[in-house]
Amino acid sequence: MKIKLECHEANHICDKNQYKEASFWEKVKLTFHLIYCRACREYTARNNKLTKAVKNPEVKTFSSADKNALKEKLHQELSK
């Protein structure tokens, strides 16, 4: 099995890894790729930063139930 990745493959694995969907072997290959590829190291760092930012508990969202209620309300108002 080949161990060297192309950069676009490495980025794909990195994207998957943000959602914990990369397999162990993929992660090994990614780590190996990052040793010698500067551009991908930068991409990975940025990607991790983005994931951390979105996961931040202060980033709040509406629950979908609340959203639907709000939509319903607007819809009623619209059809008046």
Binding site: D15, A53, V59, K60, L74, E77
Partner: protein
């Protein structure tokens, strides 16, 4: 100058999270923030004929929301006199609940961090708004709402590799946008 049109039926999906993050920093209460936003949307509906299309929808909605928040401040301000009467010292060595004793500790190290975190939400949803519609929706579902790859693929009728390409582009755009506005 291109004029902007308004689509009230898309408001909730597009702007509610952005407006929510804007509001929660200012009123610090989930229920109140929600009420203010629904009031904003309703007010927007009523005056949608006044929308001249010179600004984007989002800017326009924020300006309505600002008024609503100011109104809310006025309202609680007029209640202040009453609140003060209720403040009493409970007995013994317990500390009372005077307002002076409840203010934030000025040496609290996390205070500033917290403020930054609160603004982060706005930055994220602001950037998300700049993405193409489909990318933004898929990115949201995958990253924020945490749906499975499979569920999203079914909903949009795309293959997983399509999905990953879209996610990749969205992440790249988001990182660029946050980089210039945030990090």
């Amino acid at each position: 100058m291109p004029t902007n049109e308004i689509h009230p039926e898309l408001w909730v999906d597009r702007y509610s999270d952005y407006l929510y993050n804007y509001t929660i920093v200012r009123v610090n209460d989930h229920e109140i923030a929600q009420d203010l936003i629904s009031e904003t949307f309703l007010a927007g509906l009523k005056s949608k004929d006044n929308f001249k299309g010179e600004s984007t929808e989002r800017t326009w909605l924020i300006s309505i929301l600002k008024r609503k928040i100011i109104d809310y401040y006025r309202k609680i301000n007029s209640n202040k006199g009453k609140a003060e009467v209720r403040v009493t010292y409970s007995d013994g060595d317990q500390e009372g609940d005077w307002l002076e004793e409840r203010i934030r500790d000025p040496f609290d190290k996390t205070a500033e961090d917290k403020l930054e975190n609160e603004e982060l939400g706005m930055a994220i949803f602001g950037c998300l708004d700049g993405l193409p519609e489909k990318q933004a929706r898929i990115f949201r579902m995958k990253t924020i709402d945490g749906f499975d790859t499979e569920a999203i693929c079914n909903e949009f009728d795309i293959t997983p590799s399509n999905l990953w390409v879209i996610i990749h582009r969205a992440r790249k755009a988001m990182a660029d946008c946050l980089e210039s506005n945030w990090f």
